[in-house]
């Protein structure tokens, strides 16, 4: 690991000032950053440790009915907060389907939003990677790419975003609160992560000294609590990244879908909101045919970036199944294997 300076600011303002220096990065739990530093993938000159800042570890219900989650709340504390799990069950299920219990205890909300791709060529410093080093080329394009993107990719980069947490969050219109050199601002989570285009080295819309302070779920996000699921296919049942995942949330009134929210994970450089598919489901009965139409619509623009055409059909099926599960109703207790299609209580036949 390359040597670095370590600073531990006492306030958010001091943190932002400390991060102004080129090569500075923020350190939260470090579960992703330290791994990248040990591999020589990230080589910061300075770590600005934000873990001791006050006030960023709270979960607060705001007067308007939205929920504000501090950037330093751990994944485990958030998932196990009983009011959070009741109000946003698909988000809790996604959190608990990710990583291991040890990592969830350490990893933070802010860090999860900013985790880097798990593309093996990004991790392997002997390989060419445009995300790791702008303009270097991409070994994934003609390499082992069965886990790579099928939506929103470019010739420069076919990497995917690995987060489970972000998938239901983007479906629920989560908002990210940011503190930067010019003060406080907020952006939709859907606008935080960038598609690669010709600049895959930039993962997000953040400036280098921007600090994520909190995540907010708007009041409407709670209205899906009765019909919300996250479903994730992975190469082993636990402690693995998604091959493809889907979040489905429905508001059902008088036997019809009043509103649907859909997002896919593991298919693009960002959590992929499927708005056109949501429109297909507006004001229709929650039937298998409607779910299949929506799934086809969601993947209408998908194309393989290599040996991964299977992911397109897999994504359609996972979407149909997530919708089927959501329509059946959020289970009273999370399944023993969160988000797993093999969970004994998953409740749906193969779609």
């Amino acid at each position: 690991m390359k040597p670095f300076d370590y600073v531990r600011p006492g306030t958010v303002a001091e943190a932002i000032a400390a991060a102004a220096q080129p090569g500075a990065v923020y350190l939260a739990a470090g579960t992703n950053l330290l791994d990248l530093m040990k591999g020589g993938v990230s080589r910061p000159n300075r770590l600005v440790d934000v873990t001791h800042l006050d006030g960023l570890d709270r979960i607060e219900r705001l007067a308007d009915g939205s929920l504000r989650v501090g950037a330093l709340v751990s994944n485990a504390d958030l998932a196990h907060d009983s009011e959070f799990a009741r109000s946003y069950p698909a988000v809790a299920e996604a959190l608990l389907s990710g990583a291991s219990a040890q990592l969830r205890n350490a990893a933070t909300v802010g860090g999860n939003l900013l985790q880097r791709t798990r593309c093996t060529y990004f991790y392997d410093t002997a390989s060419r990677c445009n995300k790791r080093e702008a303009g270097r080329g991409c070994n994934a394009r003609d390499g082992e790419n069965r886990s790579h993107a099928v939506l929103g990719w470019s010739e420069s980069c076919i990497a995917t975003h690995p987060s489970d947490f972000c998938v239901p969050l983007v479906a629920l219109d989560a908002v990210v609160e940011i503190e930067g050199r010019t003060g406080r601002r907020e952006i939709a989570l859907d606008e935080l992560h960038r598609l690669p285009g010709n600049t895959p080295e930039r993962d997000t819309a953040l400036e280098p000294d921007d600090l994520i302070i909190a995540l907010r779920l708007p009041p409407a996000a709670r209205s899906f609590a009765a019909h919300a699921r996250y479903l994730k296919v992975r190469e082993r049942t636990s402690y693995a990244f998604a091959v493809v995942s889907a979040a489905a949330a429905l508001r059902i009134e008088n036997g019809k879908i009043a509103e649907a929210r859909l997002a896919l994970g593991g298919v693009a450089a960002k959590p992929w909101r499927a708005r056109a598919a949501e429109d297909v489901l507006r004001s229709v009965a929650p039937t298998a045919d409607a779910f299949r139409d929506a799934a086809w619509r969601a993947l209408a623009d998908a194309k393989p970036s290599g040996d991964n055409a299977y992911k397109i059909e897999l994504a359609r099926r996972i979407l149909v199944r997530a919708l089927t599960l959501a329509a059946a109703g959020t289970p009273a207790r999370l399944p023993a294997l969160p988000a797993s299609p093999f969970a004994s209580t998953s409740g749906a036949v193969h779609a």
Binding site: Y6, Q102, N105
Partner: protein
């Protein structure tokens, strides 16, 4: 630049001068305190051999910078027995052959202790397997590990009931 930190390790307060901020909790425990029960397996947060409790919660000590955990309360495998009396999880691992080579065992035991205080798995073997998935065992002693955890959980539930009765 030198950094001073203090940690409580297995109930004893320790002060450290770190001449390099790159030291992880894992390396500090092993190389400065010679507490070598905590194992370095992958050193990348994938195997769980380095699991310790920090402020009562299980984490991977290989992915935690010591300097960032100034003031933390740390429990390692060396701190779980009371003198010659093994922790119930340690005793259960022996009784149920919850290991073969033993390399992953300190991490497994610390993870199981952490899991029990999280109270998410109870006595459901499927939930225990899921909640222990961050600890790999290359010998494949998983069946014995799940039996050991179930047994230790039952004994601890029993003793808690006795205490509250």
């Amino acid at each position: 630049m030198n950094h001073s930190i203090s940690l409580t390790v297995n109930g004893v307060r320790r002060d450290f001068d770190l001449d390099d901020p790159r030291v992880t909790l894992l390396d500090l425990l092993r190389e400065r305190l010679h507490l070598t029960g905590t194992k370095k397996g992958c050193d990348r947060g994938q195997c769980g051999a380095c699991t310790i409790l920090v402020d009562g919660k299980r984490i991977n000590s290989c992915l935690a910078l010591a300097i960032s955990h100034d003031g933390a309360d740390i429990l390692t495998i060396e701190g779980v027995a009371r003198g010659d009396q093994l922790h119930p999880v340690q005793a259960a691992f022996i009784a149920h052959d919850g290991f073969q080579c033993g390399f992953c065992t300190p991490g497994q035991i610390m993870s199981a202790i952490g899991m029990m205080s999280e109270a998410q798995a109870g006595n459901d073997p499927e939930r225990i397997r899921e909640c222990m998935s961050g600890n790999l065992c290359r010998c494949g002693a998983y069946a014995g590990i799940v039996d050991a955890v179930l047994d230790a959980q039952a004994r601890m539930d029993e003793s808690n009931q006795r205490r509250s009765a």
